[in-house]
Symmetry: C2
Subunit: 438 residues, 2 copies
C-alpha cells in the first residue's frame, strides 16, 4: 500500500499558492480522508523568483515544466497555467505518462476537451476539473454523479464573477459600465484586458462543459452564441427594476427531446428568483431536472482559496483512486466520449423568447406608432410600453416588453427600426427569462 | 466484465415506486453512464397487492425480504422501508452477505450509523445515503468529497420540508400553526402523526449525519438539543417581519477548534439571506468553509421523484464500483469511522446567541420596567423593544430583541419572569442568527 501521493503543480500563481496553503494547513485532515500523505512534491512556474508569501523547501520550485511531466515519481499533475495550446500539450503528455490530471482550465477544456477526455479514458487515468466551473461550487461532481439518473431539462448559470460583480455594482450602487469596470480593475476584481469576462467568452467556455455533463451531448464552444454586458446601461437596469427584473449575465442551456439550446447573454431574471440574489463575485447554477425539479448551487466562483478547495477535492479523489487501484473509475464526462450524442445547437435566429427593447428616439408625435407598426408587421406583439421623459436632450427612451417572439423576426424588425431617422442610437435588446423554475 | 447490476429493493412505497419509474424511464441513459444494465430484479414489501400504478413482471414482487438479502444474484440492496430496528438488521445482513446498500433511512443511520458504517468498511462494500438528507440535494457527496480538503466552520440547514411548508404558509398566507398543519395533513403534505417533522426530530436525524460528514467528529442523535415549531404564532411571524427576519426551522452545527455546537430550533433568519427565500417544501443547506467561504445548496427535500433521483445516483455509483472492482472506494463518511474525533456537543446552556423574546402581559404601568430589570440582573442587554396594543383583551405582547447573551442566564431570567403575576402565558423564545454569511 502506498503511503504517499506525489503531486506536481504547473503554474504557480494565485490558485497554485492557494493549493499549497490548503494542503499545508489541512494536512492531517486530508491524510485522514485520503488514507495517505498528499505531498506537493514539485512545482513549475516560469517565474521562480517572485515572493508568494510562503516558504517552499529548496528544490521544489523549477522553471522546467517538462521535467515534472516526465517525472515517474509524480502520481498527479495539477495544471494551473491557463491558456490553450501549451496547457493542452502538457496535459496530454501527463496523461500519456500515465498520470492523473487536475485542472482549472475551462478555456482549454472547452476547446480541447474531446481530445483530452478521450486520451484520459484510453489511458485509464482521471481528469478532475471541478475548479474550472463555478470555482468552489461542486457543479461538475453534481452533474456527473448525483444527477446521473435524471434527465436534465435546463441549466441557468451565473458563472463569471467579474461580470456579475460589475452588473451587481451597477444595480446596487449605480454608475455606468465603463466607470464600474475601471473601479473593478483598480481593485483587482477585473483583468487589465477584461474581454474574456465582460464579453461572455469565459461563461461560454464553462457552458460548453456544463452542456456535455448535463445532457450527454457533444458541444463545441464555437457553436455557442455569446453576447457580453458592455452595452448594458443604467437606463436598462432601472427599467428592469420597474418591470420586476434584475439583469444578469446568464449562461443558458436547454434540452427538449433532440433540440438543444445554448447561449450566453445579459438576461432579465425575475427579482424573486434565487439567481436574482446572487451578488458580487458569487456564482450560482440553477438546474431543472425532469425528476428532480429545481435545484440551485451557490458559492464563490473564483479567488485563491475557494478555487483551491475544488482543486484539493479533486486531488483527494484522484489520489484515492490511485490507492484503491481504480483510476478512471468514472469517465471525465460521466459517460464515454464515444457515446456523446451529436446535436446541432439550435440557432439563435430560431430562439423563441420574451424581449426587453430600448429605443432612443426623437421626442416627436407618431414615433411610437411607427415603431410598434414595424414590430407588428414582424409578428412581435407588445406586452408593455414605457415612455418616459429623460434629461437626455437629444433623445428619449422608449422601452417595450414583448410577448414571446421569434428572434429572427425581431432582428429583422430592429434592422428596420434602427434605420428610422427618428431613432438616434442602435437599439438595445435584452432577453427575458420567466421560466426559471423555483 | 459484468453486463448487469442486479438490485433488490425492500420497501415499495412512494420512493420505491419512483425508483422503479426512473430506472425504467431513463434506462438507456443510465446504461450509458454505468456501462451495464441496472436491473431492479426483485422487490419486497409487506403489501404485495396494492395498485401502485405500474406494471411489474411477475415474480418480481414478494413479501419475503429475507430472500432478497440472501439472494446471491443481487449486487445491491436498496432499503426504503424506514424505521429503526428491522431496517438496521436488514442492512447489516445485506452487508454481511457482501452486498452494497443504498438507503434513504436517516432515522436508522442517525441512531445506528456507527454500527452500519463500520460494518460496511470492514466488508469493503458501499453504503449510499444521498437520499437521506435533503432529498435530491447532493449534500452528502458534496461534504464527503467536494469539500474534503476544506475545514468546515458551520452548517445551516432547512432539512425538513413539512415544517418549512407550515412556516412558509403561516408567513405568506397567515393562519395559526394548528390550522395550517391540519390543512397540510389534508393535502398529504404532513403525516397523520406529524411529530417527527414539526418537533424537529427528523431534522436532528439529518443533522447527526451532516455533522459527522462536515466536521469529522462523532455525533450522537441523542446529544442534539431539539425544539420544534408548535409554539410559533402569527404574532411572532409578524414581529419577525418588523425586525427584518423570517422564522425557519434550522438545523445548525458549528465547529470552532474542539468546540462543536449542534441544535435544531426555530430561528430568525435575516430576510436578505438565501435561506429566507426557501419556501414551501423546499430544502436548503448553507455551508461555511474556512477556505471556501459561503456555499448554498437548494432543492426538493422530499417527494417521489426528487428522492428517487438521489437513490438512483447512488445506485449508479455503487454499480460502477462493482464493475470497476473498487467497492468501498470511499468510506461511508469519507474517512474511516475509527478516525472520528470524539467531541462533546456544546451544551445548550452555554450557547451565546441573540434572542427574540415575547411576553404576554397585563397592560399596566411598570410591567416593562420589571421585565427589563430581571433581564438586566441576568446580564441580558436589550437591543430593541416593541410594545404594541393588540386585540387580545387579557394580555398584550411585549417583544424584546436582545444583544448576545448566554442561554443559561436567559433561562434563569425567563423562569423569574414567567412567575410574575402580570405575565399571562409562558414566554416565547426564538434564537436569532445574524452570522449566516452570504
Amino acid at each position: 500500500m502506498k503511503h504517499e501521493i506525489r503531486v506536481g503543480l504547473i503554474g504557480f500563481g494565485t490558485i497554485g499558492t492557494g493549493v499549497f496553503k490548503l494542503l499545508q494547513r489541512n494536512q492531517a485532515q486530508i491524510r485522514s480522508r485520503l488514507g495517505a500523505r498528499l505531498t506537493l512534491a514539485r512545482i513549475a512556474d516560469i517565474d521562480t523568483k517572485r515572493d508568494r508569501g510562503i516558504r517552499l523547501p529548496s528544490g521544489v520550485l523549477t522553471n522546467d515544466a517538462l521535467s515534472l511531466l516526465d517525472d515517474p515519481s509524480l502520481d498527479i499533475i495539477v495544471e494551473l497555467m491557463g491558456g490553450y495550446d501549451t496547457a493542452r500539450r502538457f496535459v496530454l503528455r501527463a496523461i500519456a505518462n500515465g498520470k492523473s490530471v487536475v485542472t482549472a482550465n475551462k478555456a482549454m477544456l472547452a476547446v480541447h476537451g474531446a481530445e483530452v477526455f478521450g486520451a484520459a479514458e484510453r489511458a485509464g487515468v482521471d481528469v478532475g476539473y471541478e475548479a474550472s466551473v463555478g470555482g468552489g461550487i461542486p457543479i461538475i461532481r453534481t452533474l456527473r454523479e448525483a444527477l446521473a439518473g435524471d434527465r436534465n431539462r435546463a441549466i441557468y448559470g451565473i458563472v463569471n464573477g467579474t461580470s456579475n460583480y460589475i452588473l451587481s455594482t451597477m444595480t446596487e450602487q449605480g454608475g455606468e459600465f465603463d466607470a464600474v469596470l475601471r473601479e473593478a480593475q483598480r481593485q483587482g476584481l477585473a483583468e487589465a484586458d477584461p474581454t474574456y469576462d465582460v464579453d461572455g467568452i469565459d461563461a461560454a467556455h464553462k457552458l460548453t462543459l456544463l452542456i456535455q455533463l448535463a445532457f450527454g451531448v457533444r458541444a463545441r464552444f464555437a457553436d455557442i452564441p455569446v453576447e457580453g454586458i458592455r452595452q448594458i446601461s443604467q437606463l436598462d437596469i432601472s427599467f428592469a427594476r420597474e418591470f420586476g427584473y434584475v439583469i444578469k449575465l446568464l449562461a443558458i442551456a436547454k434540452q427538449d427531446g433532440r433540440k438543444v439550446e445554448a447561449r450566453v447573454h445579459p438576461t432579465m431574471v425575475p427579482r424573486r428568483h434565487l439567481l436574482a440574489d446572487v451578488g458580487g463575485a458569487y456564482n450560482a447554477i440553477a438546474v431543472q431536472g425532469e425528476a428532480l425539479g429545481s435545484s440551485f448551487y451557490f458559492g464563490l466562483g473564483a479567488g485563491m482559496m475557494p478555487t483551491a478547495t475544488a482543486v484539493v477535492g479533486d486531488l483527494i479523489e484522484a489520489g484515492r483512486h490511485i490507492l484503491k487501484g481504480c483510476r478512471g473509475r468514472i469517465a471525465p464526462l460521466g459517460y464515454p466520449c464515444a457515446q456523446q450524442r451529436a446535436v446541432t445547437i439550435h440557432p439563435m435566429s430560431a430562439l423563441d423568447s420574451e424581449y426587453y427593447l430600448r429605443f432612443m428616439v426623437v421626442d416627436r408625435p407618431g414615433v411610437m406608432a411607427r415603431i410598434s407598426g414595424i414590430l407588428g408587421r414582424h409578428q412581435i406583439s407588445i406586452a408593455a410600453v414605457v415612455q418616459r421623459e429623460r434629461e437626455h436632450r437629444a433623445a428619449v427612451p422608449i422601452v417595450i416588453r414583448t410577448h414571446h417572439a421569434r428572434e429572427k423576426n425581431l432582428r429583422q424588425a430592429l434592422r428596420e427600426i434602427d434605420r428610422l431617422a427618428v431613432v438616434r442610437a442602435k437599439s438595445t435588446v435584452i432577453r427575458i427569462e420567466n421560466s426559471l423554475g423555483e
